[in-house]
Amino acid sequence: MDWRDEGLLLGIRDHGESSAIIDVLTVHHGRHSGLVRGGAGQKMSAVLQPGTQLALEWRARLEEHLGHFRVEPLQSRAAGIMAGRGTLAAFNAMAALIQALVPERAPDQGLHDASVALADALAAQAPDWPAIYARWEVQFLETLGFGLDLERCAVSGAPDGLAFVSPRTGRAVTREAGSPWAGKLLPLPGFLIGRGEPSAAAVVEALQLTGWFLANRAVAAMERDALPEARERLLRLLDRAAAAPGGG
């Protein structure tokens, strides 16, 4: 068995003295692990940093085997991502969510492309990276089969004035229709439906919205205990930024 592809490096673990097992989100082969001989050595340490886009050649005797990767760097993003505390936390959250909730070897080019776009924005220290991250989580939920329906109101069918999301159905509700149950509904920040600016407070609201469905739907479906700590850390970081003077 062998194939060639490219992918975004999500994580790396040393294996033995000099090898490493890498976890990559590939274009055509989904999230895929494999052994890289010499991957734990000094020569490869700069190449095998999470965030790097790799050209991959995978070989194994049988398809179900872990297999070996031969890798070549296509684009290095680690230095750019590490340049900011928030961008590093966001990348860690994205990688941890994919590693925790996406089954291995299930191809999804949409998830790959969205994740690469987010990694590019983080590496470039794009000023609006928190909003890009929040939109990535909305798309991530869709990838996992728990997509939100933010097109029109679940009660009235109106496309305007959407202000809440039902935690039970994941469907949007207008302010008018949802007011009686406002305490039980999740606030929908406007920027997720193309209305309003993604302020720090709105991004936190968006992450609380996606976080509810990730924690109560996706985590349960994948039989995990909780959301990854890296995702919690990002939320704390953004929450603090929103609470700071001028952050909201």
């Binding site: 190449v47 940093q49 230095a79 860690n92």
Partner: protein
């Protein structure tokens, strides 16, 4: 052919687990020890027994020590107001080899890793914050690796140190001494360019 006795096999098996040694090189090393019984085998066995009996981690900084506190923590000439945070004892030794840092250290014992279950508590990060408060430290230098794991750990350490009053600094990143740009990776060049300074 008769193989070596079970004691030698056990020695080879254990030595093969050491970094840099495999079964073949462990076999050669074991044979060398047996051949140099008086000069090598017995002194080595004695030295290892002494280390096993006496060496432990310093209760303050996590460096290896022959008592409750290591030589650096008990050295009154070292600047107790500056702490250098390193991932591992090997990193502390590298800094000591350079001989330029005269403060004290705090050895984390690794980097954070959710996959491997390494938490701030298992890295002695809360102890670091308590130490900074108790010892009146004015500067904490984060000398962790320029890797995603290392930098994530550095940010978590910085979070724990908030409110202690100590200035948190980190090592510069860029072109190493003797390094030629042509051989550097994109990330290092990018970091070096971002951190450029007046010449």
């Amino acid at each position: 052919m008769t193989g070596p006795g079970s004691e030698i096999e056990r020695l080879i098996e254990l030595m093969a687990k050491l970094p840099g040694l495999g079964p073949r090189s462990a076999r050669r090393a074991a044979l060398a020890l047996v051949k140099r019984r008086e000069r090598l085998l017995l002194p080595l066995a004695q030295a290892m027994a002494e280390v096993a009996e006496r060496v432990a981690l310093c209760e303050v900084c996590g460096h290896v020590a022959t008592g409750p506190r290591c030589g650096i923590c008990t050295d009154a000439r070292r600047d107790a107001t500056r702490l250098c945070v390193v991932e591992d004892v090997a990193d502390l030794w590298a800094l000591e080899r350079a001989g330029v840092f005269k403060g004290r250290y705090h050895v984390l014992g690794g980097t954070l890793s959710a996959l491997d279950g390494v938490t701030p508590e298992s890295l002695r990060i809360p102890e670091l914050a308590a130490r900074v408060r108790a010892e009146g430290v004015v500067e904490v230098i984060l000398a962790v690796g320029a890797t995603m794991d290392g930098q994530t750990t550095a940010h978590v350490v910085a979070d724990y140190l908030e409110g202690t009053g100590a200035e948190v600094t980190s090592l510069a990143k860029g072109v190493p001494v003797g390094g030629e740009l042509d051989y550097l990776d994109d990330g290092t060049i990018s970091a070096a360019l971002s951190a450029r300074k007046a010449f």
